[in-house]
Symmetry: C2
């Protein structure tokens, strides 16, 4: 159960304030499947970064299951993030000197998982995203869509309770994109809360809950029948 | 007039050769509008990098207007590229410490253009891609789709004879994406050769010439009525 109240994020550019998020309110139920759409620059990634505890608002509150996250210190926020949230970045943020396998296993290494548990989980998710035959490739040896899929695999390898996906199919052809959407939706059907920022209208309409942002604000927020 | 004959690109990964391009043949007429589509990992960016003189094939030839580019030394290839080719990278490749204006003006600075000519051209293309109000922002202060549009503006600011676009709308909403497509097509209508790699079927079908790649090879290559 996620609760955002009165979220604001303002950047100062020269004299002019730039309101990336304005008085944003939003609730997300545990296990919900939410899509977030809107024009380039409207604040979608900024919102997702707040949800992912990667950024702090200038004002307002963000409660996860009753915990007031803005009142936690950085170590507590990091622990909450590590233990609950998987994040697929719009710009992937992979580690260039690690290969695909090592990039995906990194969250498990940090969590102290055994070598055997890591190998099983990593090979499973690499196979789900169609990259088992690329596990030894480093980012410089992968295509754009392959990089995107490594980022997706890394975000899901520990089955986080909350999965935040920032434009997860932007570099994928129709067929790979569909496979990825199936992977994400299967996780959601297992109870994982799924928030997908997307420019793809077809993907956005698959969510039962659809949010539209313009200029830092939520302008539409509707629940639909699934699919 | 571009002519590719027998292009091969092979990577050695451990023991196994990976054929990123296999015996590829292709002609592109001056002023043609070509789309290139195909699965993630099929070799589209590799092909575009060859066309952009950013990479060399292991075998085969690439003629531009009769010039055998594989026989040129690196300085000659760089000059040919600088004077004729604009490239929109799938991963943007902007310079982090320069702002949007400075990133876009860079080709003109390198070409020795005057301050006044640079300002007029840069502000014009920034306005075409809808980013005039972001010219002072550095890449770290821009959204994903804004970064993409800066990369596009940089590629077109000197009106290159050949424009190579690697997934130019992947991070854009429908409306910004349409604006960008209009910008690219207007340049093509002025005589610029336009090659667009895309996963967006709607964009791909707008080209009069449509190429499909699978596994390093061209499997379809058709000319259609425009639009
Ligand atoms: N550090 C910053 N300083 C100033 N402005 C910023 C900064 N970061 C983001 N912005 C601005 O905040 C706005 C929202 O950015 P955000 O990345 O959330 O947009 P977005 O909806 O994800 O866009 P896209 O669809 O292009 O990815 C943008 O207009 C951007 O220029
Ligand atoms: N340096 C490298 N070493 C080994 N393999 C590589 C290297 N660079 C690319 N590859 C492989 O070559 C193939 C073609 O890559 P390319 O980037 O051209 O694909 P693409 O069609 O652009 O894919 P996408 O749609 O995902 O961007 C991929 O399968 C990739 O893994
Ligand atoms: Mg974004
Ligand atoms: Mg590519």
């Amino acid at each position: 159960m996620i609760q955002l109240r009165g979220l604001n994020k303002t950047y100062q550019m020269g004299g002019q304030p730039l309101h990336a998020l304005r008085d944003l309110d939003m609730d997300i139920q545990t296990g919900e499947y939410v899509s977030v759409m809107g024009p380039s620059g409207s604040g979608k990634s900024t919102l997702l970064n707040m949800l992912g505890l990667l950024d702090r608002p200038d004002s307002g509150s963000y409660h996860i299951n009753g915990i007031a996250t803005e009142q936690l210190v950085e170590e507590q926020r990091a622990a909450l993030r590590r233990d609950n949230i998987g994040f697929i970045f719009q710009a992937f943020h992979l580690i260039g000197r690690l290969n695909a396998f090592e990039n995906v296993e990194l969250p498990m290494v940090l969590a102290g998982e055994t070598t055997r548990a890591r190998r099983e989980a990593v090979e499973h998710v690499l196979q789900l995203v169609g990259l088992l035959d690329r596990k030894h490739h480093r980012p410089g040896q992968l295509s754009g869509g392959q990089l995107q899929r490594v980022a997706i695999a890394r975000a899901i390898v520990m089955k986080p309770r909350i999965l935040l996906a920032d434009e997860p199919t932007g570099n994928l052809d129709q067929s790979s994109g569909r496979d990825i959407v199936n992977v994400l939706e299967n996780l959601n059907s297992e109870g994982i809360t799924l928030v997908v920022v997307t420019h793809d209208g077809n993907l956005g309409q698959r969510a039962q809950r659809r949010v539209r942002m313009v200029d830092g604000q939520i302008v539409e927020d509707e629940r639909h029948a699934p699919g």
